[in-house]
């Protein structure tokens, strides 16, 4: 009887552990498939041209060009712009919700902000095209509002809930003793927040920003719809741009499987994968530090 029981238990454990390995296999699989297709690009295009040349024109009649620099710049601009917006609005809101708002208000506002995270990116992109870009065009006197600025605003809205949510969690889970000790010494609430809480929460907030960064780098649809899609090197935030994600989305339907263009798009995908992997890795280290410090 005991033997049967032991076998059954071992079998269940084996079954469950096999299911868990799937997650690992998928990650490895993504990397492998991106790699084996993307790496073939460099048999025909030099890495120097790929990374440093700023002309991307794979379908040019005559001499196709394979420089993704302007695409990388596009990604970096949207990431930077959206983070600026999301961090400013997000941290301020997180502090408000965690330290200032009455619990009842907090109970209502938190889920409302979470709902922004639930809005599909295409819908935000649609609002960007129909409402925000004409508005930006009018305000700044441009011919159309499809540019890096509009993209930054839209992506900033998408990243906002992540930053607010995590930062607020970090702040609320700081030990009560911090607040009491600070106030007991005669600090005002703002002094307590500024000089005690925020420094203590710094690693956690950094981690939140890293996760937001991940989201911004990976955003495809909304940015595709409002970025303007110009392959030329942008010179300001009012110029149209084409981030790497949007580029893949636009061109993937037109490439022939196995062609150099196809492989080049996979190479871009590989770069994106590596970028988000590195950011995630860094944010993991930061979170581990925070956990060890305050056990939250």
């Amino acid at each position: 009887m005991p033997n049967y029981r032991n076998i059954k238990e071992k079998f269940i454990e084996l079954f469950l552990s096999t299911a868990s390995i799937t997650a690992l296999l998928i990650l490895i699989g993504i990397f492998v498939f991106l790699f084996i297709t993307g790496i073939k690009t460099f048999t025909q295009i030099s890495p120097a041209e790929f990374f440093l040349s700023n002309e991307w024109n794979p379908t040019a009649y005559g001499e196709p060009r394979w420089g993704i620099l302007s695409l990388i710049i596009g990604t970096l601009m949207v990431t930077f712009g959206s983070l600026v917006i999301a961090i400013l609005l997000g941290l301020a809101s997180a502090v408000y919700l965690s330290e200032i708002a009455r619990p009842k208000i907090r109970e209502i506002i938190k889920p409302v902000i979470e709902m922004i995270a639930g809005i599909p990116s295409v819908v935000l992109g649609l609002i960007g095209i129909l409402f925000l870009s004409p508005l930006i065009a009018k305000i700044f006197g441009l011919s159309n509002g499809l540019n890096a600025l509009t993209s930054s605003i839209i992506v900033g809205i998408m990243v906002l809930p992540t930053i607010i949510s995590i930062s607020e969690d970090v702040l609320t889970s700081l030990p009560h003793e911090f607040r009491e000790a600070s106030l007991a010494l005669g600090a005002t609430k703002w002094q307590m927040i500024r000089m005690t809480l925020l420094p203590a929460a710094l690693s956690g907030i950094l981690a939140a920003i890293m996760l937001g960064l991940c989201r911004a780098v990976g955003e495809t649809m909304a940015v595709l719809m409002v970025a303007g899609n110009s392959r030329a090197m942008p010179t300001s935030f009012f110029d149209p741009i084409r981030p790497m994600t949007a580029n893949i989305a636009i061109e993937i339907k037109e490439v022939v499987k196995g062609s150099l263009h196809y492989e080049a798009l996979f190479a871009i995908g590989l770069i994106l994968f590596i970028m988000t992997f590195v950011v995630n890795f860094i944010s993991d280290i930061i979170i581990e530090k925070q956990v060890r410090k305050y056990k939250w």
């Binding site: 997650a23 400013l88 301020a92 919700l97 819908v123 649609l126 809205i157 005002t188 002094q191 993937i252």
Partner: protein
Amino acid sequence: MVNEYVRQNIYFILFRIATFLSVAVLLFILLYILKEGIGVIDTKFLTSMWSHREITEGGIFPAIIGTIFLAIGVSIISIPFGICTAIYLNEYAKENLLTRTIKLAIRNLAGVPSIVYGIFGLSFFVFFLKLGGSLIAASLTLGCMTLPWIITASEESLKAVPHSFREGSFALGATKWQTIRKNVLPHSFGGMLTGSILGISRAMGETAPIIMVGATFFMGYLPSSPFDKFMALPYHLFILATQHSSPYAREYALGTSLVLIALIFMLNSGVFILRYKLRKKKEW
């Protein structure tokens, strides 16, 4: 000291503004879509097949069906794997390199850009496994993307069950699986389910992963097998918004958005109510 109070008040007002701005953005989006999209919604819009030449003659019914089929496909694929992984990680896994690696992999999967999932799906499911652009290829692709969300939500649910329940069970001579089945799962299953449904509702709104693995803008028939192509609300709305030439495309895009948001909202509300009921039942 008066200075400090003034400073505080200024900052706090700014923070208040920031928060209400964030809330206002959401409300604006919802109201805008509602106001601009409601005009085109009627029975014909919701229940007719898509009319390619003159879009006002048809509706987005096949896109709605496609999205629902996709949601079902993703659920079948990712929910069992997700829940099993969560149970293993939370109840069985020891602190070793393999466990840490799996957890790292899950966190990374959550951060991979949606378009990268798309091209992975293209090269692996569509070409390598020769599934072609189809509902099943899209379900698998989107399923990979949804998996980390479901695992995370399920883990939270399991962690919320107090350790003393497990201890009491072990002390009576129960095996690990008996303890999980009788004393942990019944109290965490509701949470796992609601978390999974939320994950699926997020998946329903995704466009980038499905663009190249089976979603089409126009099909004259409803998908009848997993190997068929399909229409889907987010992709449909994307094409209407960016590439369609009809003068009514804008309206129809807004209407499609409204339907998509309504679908997601219904799922989320269902979860909200379920969670409330579960919380009331909870006795500890």
